[in-house]
Symmetry: C2
């Protein structure tokens, strides 16, 4: 690993001052065309690259954004990260990955450690952090985008991106009803999940719109994994055998629900229809292929990064409204 040339080396080689080289590097005016070309060529020949650390110290901008996720192993967040990274790379930014392992203490510590890096912004996917900590965090950074959290009063340095869970659940109910199902049930996720709560709201709104009534015993909470979905569904079917449609909290839960249905001798979708949520890759691997609510998570990530770059590049712009991402019903084989 040989030492890389500095801007001073280039300046000496070109017989000019380092400021002239700096102006060429940053495409700023104040350099004659001839000199500019000569320096450009020298930069190329010498393989000069500006040191981003030094630049960061001088400009207080590091061209770096962090993404904080509960679990990068979860494809849901991995896709968001993927979209965000793509835009960051396009725009010459770099992306720190922080994994909180679903642990609030670790999350606070991670956010704390980030301050020392003088990053330009944070993409925060933090379903669980208490609202106070959230607001404290936001005030520490120049720019933040919040995913699936709602702030009461919008701030100029914060963009918000939320999944329209209410709409998604409504679409699912609508599809059940349109295909003749009347005895719907909901396998909801964890009680604490914001997303889960909104999906319940949408489910109830959908029932209401169809003139059906919400029966509390036709809803079961569970852990957001396959096994949780299987157990919850088994319980629900035992309690309410005539159920003919299940909306699951997410695709993993939906797969568990299908398994429980099959275990009890029901055929999906003939006897009972199942709709999932998120459209993870698994949805087209299992059989029957899942009918589910598709969310373009890479697009969510791209949007999140674009928004934060807007804030970084024009910090004085007015506070932006929350972006709602509408899920789309993808009809496959399970409903």
């Amino acid at each position: 690993m040989k030492k890389r040339p500095t801007i001073t080396d280039v300046a000496q080689a070109a017989g000019v001052s380092l400021m002239t080289v700096s102006r060429v590097v940053n495409d700023k005016p104040g350099v004659g065309e001839e000199t500019r070309q000569r320096i450009r060529q020298l930069i190329e020949e010498m393989g000069y690259r500006p040191n981003e650390i030094a630049r960061g110290l001088a400009t207080r901008q590091t061209a770096t954004v962090a993404i904080v996720v509960p679990d990068i192993t979860n494809p849901f967040f991995a896709q968001i990260a993927c979209g965000a990274e793509a835009v960051a790379f396009e725009k010459g930014y770099h992306l720190f990955l922080l994994n909180t392992a679903e642990n609030t203490d670790r999350e606070v510590a991670a956010l704390d450690s980030l301050q020392q890096k003088e990053i330009d912004g944070v993409l925060l996917c933090s379903p669980r952090l208490p609202i106070d900590d959230l607001e404290a965090t936001i005030s520490q950074f120049a720019a933040v985008t919040l995913f699936n959290r709602e702030l009461q009063n919008p701030l100029p340095n914060v963009a918000q991106i939320n999944i329209n869970d209410v709409l998604g659940a409504q679409l699912a109910v609508q599809h059940f009803v349109a295909s003749g199902r009347r005895r719907l049930a909901l396998i909801a996720g964890p009680v604490t999940s914001t997303s889960g709560q909104r999906r319940i709201d949408g489910y109830r709104a959908g029932l209401r719109a169809a003139g059906l009534i919400f029966e509390p015993q036709a809803m079961e909470h569970c852990q957001p994994v396959t096994e949780g979905g299987r157990m919850a569904t088994a319980q629900l079917l035992a309690r309410r055998p005539k159920t003919d449609a299940i909306l699951a909290f997410n695709d993993l839960v939906a797969v568990g629900a299908i398994q429980a249905c099959e275990d009890s001798g029901r055929r999906v979708p003939d006897d009972i229809a199942v709709i999932g949520f998120d459209d993870i890759p698994l949805a087209t691997i299992v059989r029957p292929h899942l009918t589910t609510l598709h969310i373009d998570l890479e697009e969510v990530g791209r949007l999140a990064m674009s928004k934060i770059l807007e804030i970084i590049q024009q910090p004085d712009a007015p506070a932006h409204a929350t972006h709602w991402i509408d899920p789309q019903l993808v009809i496959r084989d399970s409903a």
Copy 2:
């Protein structure tokens, strides 16, 4: 976002020079115990955090490592990233995420852009990059760990971590043979995959050890996804109907293989046994649960990060031998 205090602010508040504060911050000797305590308290009160950018410029160490993966959306790499991030966080390091989207040009560009960031090391998961580019890249960075690539001559600044694919495939064959199967087949991955090549080698070695012969028509290459596995298996079964055991390139392919078996009226594992590779979460979601070769990928990530930190912290240590990670056969329902 109010301005954070600098080391000079703390020094002035304490009535000492900034070097004294610097020594306290870095736990270096040369400061009296009383003064040290007083400064510690002031640091706490003022909420001082050293600016890592400035520190990076002065020390030429940024406490930052990058991980370059083909696709973070793939749980395989996500798990490695997760383990790497965990160790990085523990040790006070930060992690850049670079996603190459399986695109070699983008990978080269990404690696190039990283140089400007003066990072301390790179974790490179690059199955496809030509060996020349690989070596050129390595020479640009102070420390590198290479995942699943073999360098002919080890370098002092490079750690290598490889999956023992040969062993894994041997274990699978051994298990097939031990359970009475004799007509084995292999759904291999892409022809270009290093890992795939080694798994073929292990498969052949396993056959040899069991006194079976390798039949070229009992092997089929495919894309490393479910649909690829399904199609390749369908072809293979048509060509060689009496096959009673299939080793798949990975779990996704294994799921496709199972589907092809079921489509052709075969029951898994009664008529035909299937073993996957990698043990991704999907393995315990599909039915039958996959018998597969488990690789503790988070541990791989942790190891990769630990090794690179060793290199960073003592660059003069001798070149390290390649680490081989042994897969473990997890016997579930499919074989």
